[in-house]
Symmetry: C2
Subunit: 347 residues, 2 copies
């Protein structure tokens, strides 16, 4: 049996290799790089083939496929969302992703994306805040201190220059875990006993809780004038975090309206409630923050273009760092019509 051809071998970035890659480059640098990469793709938003993700719902969670293409490269992510996983000691969200060459359909990268999704979600949040948050913001309330929390904190420090993070979770153990992990990263950390305490003096409020249900993490009086809201946790049908009245007082920015209207905070609003697409702000077609008293809301649910940008970034790093292994994934006989002969000769 001959060895697989080069085309047959797909570079695979395992979890272990993703962690090595991130440490090689540095976590904060990766977050800054990813924000720049996503910003670049948001600038050329119209060039992407976009479709709402394909979701398979069950009573305990959802499994989704998120494809996109820029005409040269195709990418998709497999991602699940199972809030009850945490009680079983499993991740609520796990993911992997793939890039392929549009011209041949052959995969060019397979990568873990549980860690990469956490990084790109935080990078996207910070990118949105860069365009929407009040100038000179220094402090952020971080409500929900689960798996995504530290990534958010570091991204806002690295991309937006925040110096203070005010932490709150209904479970104090989650806050303690965050404090432990974020120690020594050059951020002033303020553990808080309530959401109300967490938002004191914060110009940015990030909500990133995990329950799959309508929950009011922020009530109406908690979103003061001039604040920027970064709503990360409301990301599937039936799951929201903000009181409806906050939405009515906010200027709302989203990734891809057809998906956000189903999954985001705005699922509780009428279908025609005005929203601005983030890519329009970044490309100059729309205005972000207009005045200091305005409440801006980034209703984040995550979109395929962000994963595409993140995968492309990882793929490019493999030119410099060999943090991948070749995967014998594509049958590629010498004579393309002789797939059966290849199988026969393997006997």
């Amino acid at each position: 049996m001959t060895a697989p051809s080069r085309q047959a071998l797909v570079p695979f970035v395992s979890v272990a290799n993703m962690m090595k890659l991130v440490h090689q480059i540095g976590i904060e640098r990766v977050l800054v790089d990813l924000a720049a990469e996503i910003e670049e793709d948001f600038r050329r938003w119209p060039s992407f083939d976009k479709t709402p993700r394909v979701a398979s719902h069950s009573d305990v969670g959802v499994i989704e496929l998120m494809p996109t293409s820029d005409g040269e490269t195709y990418g998709f992510k497999y991602v699940n969302g199972h809030p009850s996983n945490m009680k079983k000691g499993l991740q609520t969200v796990t993911a992997f992703g793939l890039l392929a060459d549009v011209k041949t359909g052959y995969p060019i990268l397979l990568s873990e994306m549980t860690i990469l999704t956490a990084l790109r979600t935080a990078a996207t949040s910070a990118l949105a805040a860069k365009w929407l948050a009040p100038k000179g913001a220094r402090s952020m309330a971080l409500i929900g201190n689960g798996a995504q929390a530290e990534f958010q904190a570091l991204a806002f420090k690295a991309v937006c220059g925040l110096s203070e993070i005010r932490l709150y979770d209904i479970d104090p153990a989650a806050t303690r875990k965050c404090l432990r992990n974020l120690e020594g990263h050059g951020i002033r950390l303020v553990p808080c006993a309530s959401a109300e305490e967490a938002i004191e003096g914060a110009e940015i409020i990030t909500t990133v809780t995990a329950d799959k249900q309508y929950a009011t993490i922020l009530s109406d009086n908690m979103a003061g004038a001039g604040v920027h809201l970064n709503a990360v946790g409301g990301d599937c049908p039936g799951k929201t975090e903000l009181h409806r009245d906050i939405l009515l007082r906010s200027d709302i920015f989203v990734e891809y309206p057809p998906q956000t209207r189903i999954e985001g905070e705005i699922q509780v609003l009428p279908e025609d409630h005005p929203v601005t697409e983030l890519w329009e702000v970044i490309s100059g077609a729309a205005t972000g923050r207009r005045h200091p008293d305005q409440v801006t809301l980034f209703d984040s649910v995550g979109f395929a273009v962000e994963d595409f940008a993140a995968l492309r970034y990882v793929h490019r790093q493999l030119e410099r760092f060999a943090f991948c292994e070749p995967l014998d994934m594509i049958a590629d006989p010498d004579d393309p019509r002789d797939l059966f002969g290849m199988l026969l000769r393997a006997a």
Copy 2:
């Protein structure tokens, strides 16, 4: 750094391991097993979550994601179709697939599917013929002798008991390749100089050509009374193989009408042209062949449930045969909320 947990490791069946598995069991036995597995899933068709595949088209081909779920297990296949690949020495169709546990969203199998798709496509064709072809059929015309041809020949021998295959391709080299590969498999092989010669005396006609264009492989006078047509090659928009008049004289059987009306032979017919779903025939809800003179047509485009059945079969074989390797694909920290801590500790 601690080793990945068991949940984090996804069994991966490489191309090399798939070939070993097929030879361990025996190619014909695998085809018979797959036909039985697919038949079983077609019997419980209503229990599947079905959706037309999600296609990303370019001017040279298509990349598709084909998801389905039976409520317990989720599966999807990535597959491309690039007719121009052959000229570049690449496969027209390559694929891989995944199974996941619906309860947790965690993957339980990643597998090559280029070879597996060839096997399941042939097994599905033979399964349809078992229900639709004239009783006692012995001879099949095989028009198009490319990558799928030998799989079709062996499946019809193993599942339907055919003893003669009449081969024709516009490129005689393709036919010679088939003759070479099928020698010694207990089938009478008849190379033919034309499609007309190939269909002489054949009770079943299989068309499996690869050009992405409307082509008439079979003209109207070539589909005689009582014949069963197995149209495999017409499987994407703009690609058909049969003359429209044949369709009008045939009783047409399909996998999943919303997909076949876009991709199959029937894309040239009105949207309401009557078709029968194959699962209805298998489950007893509809009649297959009614009389000896009837022309039956299986307008095959391939559906996610067939891939699901094939992946489940492979997954079950891994209990007996260790033809897989563990892939470190899912980040699974001991404390599910401590994804960042896991990353930190890897430094």
